[in-house]
């Protein structure tokens, strides 16, 4: 069984982003593996634990420095990595085509895990485009996953606390949500072992990708304006709690 996990290298969410020019930012910051992709790897590892012959291959499209994120995936337990290198900022059309080419050049995927989004671009597109070019079904924001007799059953968290259950034949793409699992953190021996695991490097230009049907370009980056409003809740403790719950439900809509 071949389990592929797509991982992206993204800026550390704690980093201060400084915009440079029209549509770039200063990349002298720490990059990390996309946190949602950690859930994807964790689920892949759990699946591998049920199948002795399974192999987990982490695939990444990005600059040479993105190899650090592949190393993180290997330290978490992936068996090997494939790194499609490019210095260009690539959109989700090209990324999907590159992932498809890299995966099919390597083998026939039984299942592909991804994160439900990247924390930098937040395009929510790549897994669907990958599903489209591979012609396989995709479920996103997956919070529960089970595989039996070649059928994946998944729970997907929907808007406003709803839940959808899908059954999908393999191969399929599972885009992991946060509630799917608790990713394991590697230990130093895991990190040391990962340094010896193979990473195959493929230049994007060498993949001979077809011309994408469309493209997207970031034409401008602007800093987000944080609009934090202070709200003082008056009244007794009991009244204040009731008001706080009302605000969280009706205004913040987090409950």
């Amino acid at each position: 069984m071949k389990i592929y996990v797509c991982v992206k290298s993204v800026p550390d969410s704690a980093a201060t982003i400084r915009i440079v020019g029209r549509n770039q930012f200063d990349e002298h910051i720490t990059f990390i593996i996309n946190p949602y992709d950690e859930h994807a790897i964790e689920e892949a590892m759990r699946l591998r634990a049920t199948n002795e012959k399974a192999e987990v291959i982490a695939v990444c499209v990005g600059r040479a420095e993105a190899a650090g994120s592949l190393q993180s995936a290997l330290a978490m337990g992936a068996d090997r990595g494939i790194h499609v290198t490019t210095d260009d900022a690539v959109d989700s059309f090209i990324t999907a085509l590159a992932l498809k080419a890299a995966i099919l050049a390597d083998g026939q995927p039984d299942i592909i895990f991804t994160g439900k989004q990247s924390i930098d671009a937040e395009g929510f597109q790549t897994m669907f485009r990958l599903g489209a070019v591979l012609g396989v079904p995709v479920a996103t924001n997956v919070t529960a996953f089970a595989l039996q007799d070649g059928i994946a059953t998944v729970d997907c968290e929907m808007e406003a606390g709803g839940r959808a259950v899908f059954r999908m034949p393999l191969p399929c793409i599972i885009a992991a949500g946060k509630a799917l699992n608790n990713p394991r953190y590697p230990t130093l021996p895991d990190i040391m072992k990962a340094r010896k695991k193979p990473i195959q490097t493929l230049a994007l230009a060498s993949l001979d990708l077809p011309t994408p049907s469309a493209g997207m370009e970031v034409i401008g980056l602007r800093p987000a304006v944080e609009d934090r409003r202070r709200h003082i809740i008056a009244g007794t403790g009991e009244q204040a709690v009731a008001e706080l719950i009302r605000l969280l439900r009706e205004e913040a809509r987090v409950l």
Binding site: D12, S13, A14, A15, T16, H28, I29, T30, I32, I33, P35, E38, S69, S72, A75, M76, R184, Y185, P186, T187, L188, P189, I191, M192
Partner: protein, 445 residues
């Protein structure tokens, strides 16, 4: 007419607050001025707030051990004052000094005996029994993961450790400063926040007051520099003070990291503060069952001395600004993982970056200055949090004695530690001293 006080203390961190508390108890009308919004909100808030007794000098050990008595009896120290934010809590975990080539532990033991510090010697077996996740292989000299030798398998085992049962850490250093603020206010002390001193005035060789950024002038015949990482900038406002210091201070950038405890091990409730010179790190439990790990400043770790205003404004590139660096994250977490091989190392760095107010020999300056009425409680070098209540008493007594005519430079004030009853020469902390080569030249002091 300008507002008048008996003493102005610049800074309301964990050093400035107890000085105000003790001066106020002596009857001084004090005002702490801090550019931030609350007590302990600056570098104090980022302190690991470790309370340990091992220092490289006997007086250093005595002062730290005296400090234990206040943390162990916090409510009484504060005069049972009420703080609406609650009280900081002393987490009396015990403190383990690993016997290694990275610490002169024989000297520490000698100092412990001289001062009367309670301790036990733990064998490797005893440490393993008490802390099963530690592996006690020797990794000396301290290295960084970039060094290929970092991953070399160890060939020797350590000798054990020295355990001090009264050690530990304070769970909320910022809150502890606020507690002292409230205790000082109960004796009439005043605090002014969001106010920055931009000028210090002197007349005929004596300080007379300060001007704030908004133009307000406040007068006092005594001014104390307790400005933490900004201490050198405050000293530079009075050229005679700056030039009169043989030992200088400057701000040193420092990162501390959070790593989750190994699966199945309750480090938060069962672990000990540990000082581990063999890997150049100290570590202690943190909320969330985390290891909080800092560097003990081994030679291989870079030292960066930023301008504190630029640093807090987030200026400068990686390694100079107030964000964690990947290389130091790896250095500290991987080194800790040599001791705790089952430690979990997250892919995303987590921790705190702040500044030490570091002196040339990593020993503080608690002293008068070359301008009358201007006093120094600076150069805490990341190792004085635990001493803060003692520093408050010592500085207040020193200031009072000097104001009453003591020639402290010629005949240094002899300070008696209230609990230990031991007297020592405060000239040890003089600004005029030559560099003290007995120092560890690290956070260990």
């Amino acid at each position: 007419m300008n507002k008048q006080y008996d003493a102005i203390i610049i800074g309301a961190g964990v050093i400035g607050c107890p000085i105000a508390y003790e001066l106020a108890k002596m009857g001084y009308k004090t005002l702490n001025i801090d550019k931030l919004a609350g007590a302990g909100a600056g570098s104090t808030a980022a302190s690991c707030a470790i309370v340990r007794a091992h220092y490289s000098t006997e007086d250093g050990v005595a002062m730290a051990y005296e400090g234990f008595k206040y943390w162990l009896d916090w409510e009484n120290y504060l005069g049972n004052v009420k703080d609406e934010k609650g009280l900081a809590k002393y987490m009396n975990t015990g403190s383990l000094l690993i016997k290694s080539q990275g610490h002169d532990w024989r000297k520490v033991k000698k100092n412990y005996d001289a001062v009367g510090v309670k301790y036990e010697e733990w064998s490797v077996e005893k440490i393993k029994e008490m802390i099963p996740v530690y592996e006690l292989d020797e990794h000396w000299p301290v290295k960084r993961p970039e060094d290929p030798a970092f991953f070399d398998p160890p060939t020797k085992t350590l000798e054990g450790g020295i355990f001090c049962p009264e050690g530990g850490y304070v769970n909320d250093p910022e809150l502890s400063s606020h507690n002292i603020q409230r205790a000082a206010e109960a004796h009439g002390a005043e605090f002014l926040f969001n106010a920055e001193v931009v000028e210090i005035h002197s007349q005929e060789g004596r300080v007379v007051g300060v001007t704030l950024k908004d133009g307000t002038r406040i007068d006092a015949p005594v001014i104390v520099n307790a400005a933490g990482p900004h201490s050198f900038k405050i000293n530079q406002m009075l050229p005679a003070v700056w030039e009169g210091c043989n030992i200088k201070t400057k701000a040193l950038r420092h990162e501390v990291m959070h790593c989750p405890s190994p699966e199945g091990y309750d480090y938060f409730n069962e672990g000990y503060h540990t000082s581990d010179g063999d890997i150049g790190c100290y570590y202690r439990p943190e909320v969330g069952n985390m290891f909080l790990v800092g560097s003990e400043d081994p030679e291989c770790d870079p030292q960066v001395w930023p301008d504190p205003d630029d640093f807090y404004a987030g200026k400068g590139g990686p390694g100079e600004n107030n964000q964690l660096t990947e290389s130091q994250w790896k250095a500290q977490c991987y080194r800790l993982a040599l001791r705790v091989p089952t430690l979990r190392v997250p892919n995303q760095p987590r921790g705190v970056v702040d500044l030490y107010d570091c002196s040339d020999d990593w020993i503080p300056i608690y002293d008068k200055s070359d301008v009358k009425g201007f006093y120094l409680a600076i150069g805490t070098s990341g190792n004085q949090y635990k001493n803060a209540p003692v520093v408050g008493i010592m500085m207040a007594e020193l200031i009072d004695a000097c104001e009453k005519g003591l020639d402290h430079d010629a005949q240094p004030y002899q300070f008696t530690l209230p609990h230990l009853g031991r007297t020592f020469d405060t000239g040890f902390f003089s600004r005029k001293r030559e560099i003290n080569y007995d120092s560890s030249f690290s956070v260990n002091g």
